[in-house]
């Protein structure tokens, strides 16, 4: 298969002028907003619903349906919150989308605001994206000056304000309810749901939270329509998706592909294959929280359904590639250590479980493990999955369970040999 299609989110990436307002306008920018202003809010929701656009932040929830849940008769303001916390290991497409095309995000955000009658939108940017937050502040200032944001959007009499809020280094703040707490000046710990944010979100008011990439798809859907959007991708996963490929590949980077594109095409055609022509060992399809897959899954399509069928998830479509010189136990240790570090501490299974899992993995990797450690790992994986307060712990469990499932021999070799079979000094002994 060769990849041929009209790029959407990345179509202006070779033109640095679109970072500025004039360049963006010259490419047809803010026409989706104009169109939305001429429509009823219910019609905006309807076109996004029929496009089938699904949330790109990980869960894949249909965006139009989410917007449709917002009650309009509560007497409270409504809010749009842009989730630009992007911290899932391996994920960096939101960063590049904003670096290259910041106004498209503001336009998508403004259309979402119109759809739910929101007058103030908040953009939550992870603190480490300092440069990207400055790019956005510049774009916001320019959009205000030109009347695409502010008290009288494009002369419609409607108000949309944008407030940028910086995080400060906490992965959990990407989880939508933790993000809301963080934005309200509390510790960034998740809230119990229900109530869902659509009903009771920011400042206890109805709130729509969307990922950057989700919103950046919206302007084109307004201009070109739902049917156009569905021309690429699959029936249930329409449109294109940004994928990030990192780790052991020749050309790491962000690539846009139609949903459903087989992993092999992304790996070979876009990322240039495994680094140095080595053999593929394992890969995460959607960041470290999605169960890892193997070279047996090269033909799996990158879409929500195919990856679920393969026992994993599309997640953020952040593909991290490990080759045959990489130790799966070592990689799992690093990933689980991340979840232990980022656990917000609110619930016991995650706080204690991720800590214990890290200790057990570290001793296995150091050659101090015992046969009894493998059942402990199984036990931890089982007890973390779907049993904690939020989905962060499911990420921990995914690393443990998928590495044990696909690479049991490698775990056992660590115990049997009393050392890591793949540490560089032992390379000649790599099991075939």
């Amino acid at each position: 298969m060769s990849l041929r299609f009209e790029p959407r989110l990345t179509r202006d990436w070779d033109d640095p002028s679109v970072i500025g307002l004039e360049g963006y306008i010259a490419k047809g920018g803010y026409r989706g907003l104009a169109k939305a202003l001429a429509m009823s809010d219910a019609d905006i929701v309807e076109v996004v619903k029929s496009s089938g656009l699904r949330g790109r932040g990980g869960a894949g929830f249909p965006a139009g349906m989410k917007w449709g849940f917002v009650p309009r008769d509560t007497g409270k303001p409504t809010y749009v919150v842009v989730n630009f916390d992007e911290s899932e290991p391996g994920t960096c497409n939101n960063r590049e989308l904003v670096e290259r095309d910041p106004h498209r995000l503001l336009e998508g955000m403004a259309i979402a605001a119109l759809a739910i009658g929101c007058e103030t939108a908040y953009i939550y940017v992870r603190g480490e994206y300092l440069w990207q937050s400055l790019v956005l502040e510049r774009a916001i200032a320019d959009a205000y000056a030109a009347g695409h944001l502010g008290p009288d959007v494009q002369g419609s009499g409607k108000r949309i304000d944008a407030v940028l809020h910086r995080g400060a280094g906490a992965y959990i703040c990407g989880e939508e309810t933790a993000l809301l707490n963080s934005l309200e000046g509390l510790r960034g710990q998740p809230r119990l749901r229900p109530p869902f944010p659509a009903v009771e979100g920011l400042f206890a008011s109805p709130t729509v939270i969307n990922n950057v990439e989700t919103l950046m798809n919206v302007p084109d859907i307004l201009v070109r329509g739902a049917d156009w959007f569905r021309e690429l991708g699959t029936e249930k996963s329409p449109g294109t998706k940004m994928v990030t490929v990192s780790g052991k590949v020749e050309r790491p980077g962000n690539f846009e592909v139609p949903l459903g594109t087989p992993f092999r095409v992304v790996l070979d055609e876009l990322a240039g294959g495994v680094l140095g022509g080595r053999a593929l060992k394992a890969w995460t399809p959607g960041g470290s929280s999605t169960p890892m897959l193997t070279e047996g899954h090269l033909e799996v399509g990158l879409d929500y359904e195919s990856l679920a069928e393969a026992g994993s998830m599309l997640g953020t479509a952040a593909i991290m590639v490990m080759d045959d010189t990489d130790c799966v136990v070592d990689c799992a240790t690093r990933m689980v250590r991340f979840y232990a570090h980022e656990s917000c501490g609110k619930c016991t299974p995650c706080r204690e479980g991720s800590w214990w899992a890290t200790r057990v993995l570290e001793r296995l990797e150091d050659g101090q493990g015992e046969a009894a450690d493998l059942p402990i790992m199984h036990d931890l994986g089982t007890n973390l999955l779907f049993r904690a307060f939020c989905a962060l712990a499911d990420g921990t469990a995914s690393v443990i369970n998928s590495s044990l499932q696909h690479f049991p021999d490698e775990y056992e070799a660590h115990v049997r040999l009393g050392r890591c079979p793949l540490k560089v000094e032992h390379l000649e002994e790599v099991p075939a």
């Binding site: 500025g20 992007e86 911290s87 899932e88 290991p89 391996g90 994920t91 960096c92 939101n94 960063r95 590049e96 992870r126 603190g127 480490e128 994206y129 300092l130 440069w131 937050s133 400055l134 790019v135 502040e137 510049r138 774009a139 200032a141 320019d142 407030v163 940028l164 809020h165 910086r166 995080g167 400060a168 280094g169 906490a170 992965y171 963080s182 934005l183 309200e184 000046g185 509390l186 510790r187 960034g188 400042f203 490929v245 990192s246 780790g247 052991k248 790491p252 980077g253 962000n254 995460t284 470290s288 991290m320 490990m322 990689c331 690093r334 990933m335 991340f338 570090h341 980022e342 917000c344």
Partner: protein, 191 residues
């Protein structure tokens, strides 16, 4: 007030004005960045003063400050070197870069800063630049595809008073300057 005085107080007021009157507590994070930009880290005094500005207790402010890694509650180097060692970077040799950062800066593992007060080294979780791994930030400015040799050069440059040009965006010449930008009180430069 000792920290939020004069022009800093005016900056604090501009931060408070971003949020609805009834929800001024939302200003706690930018105020912490602002305090950090004045004193180089978030001091006890700053925690108390922020509490007074927001009408919440010092403990409530500290609960927020201690939750996030980008707020520093202890004396911090002039420059903060953040090295990502998460998987995509690890697969590209980040652990050697992390070692080189310690060696070159003189920060002992586990210590808050170097004896000369110039450097703090921080092990990062994914910085969102996995496509240019190993990823490093110096005062929150990106450096891409960093090798141990490049790490040593960067540190030597900082010692000599040079400000390394980042892979993207403007350079901030200190942790304080970056914290000020993070507070969002600087005029934004044209695109």
């Amino acid at each position: 007030m000792a920290v939020f005085e004069g022009p800093v107080r005016a900056d604090a007021d501009s931060i408070l004005a971003r949020y609805p009157e009834a929800h001024r507590r939302s200003a706690v994070m930018p105020l912490l960045y602002l305090a950090q930009s004045v004193e180089g880290f978030v001091t006890r005094d700053a925690l108390r003063e922020i509490g007074m500005l927001l009408g919440i207790t010092t403990a409530e402010v500290e609960a927020v400050a201690s939750f996030y890694t980008m707020f520093r509650l202890r004396p911090t180097g002039t420059h903060v070197i953040s090295v990502c060692t998460n998987l995509a970077c690890k697969l590209r040799g980040a652990e050697a870069v992390f070692e080189a950062a310690h060696e070159a800066s003189g920060v002992v593992h586990g210590a808050e800063l170097s004896d000369d007060g110039l450097f703090t080294v921080h092990e990062e979780e994914c910085l969102g630049v996995c496509d240019f791994a190993p990823a490093v930030q110096i005062n929150f400015c990106n450096h891409d595809n960093v090798t141990p040799e490049r790490m040593r050069e960067l540190v030597a440059g900082l010692r000599a008073g040079e400000v390394p040009s980042p892979a993207r965006g403007p350079a901030f010449d200190s942790f304080k300057a970056a914290s000020r930008a993070l507070a969002g009180v600087e005029e934004v430069a044209s695109a």
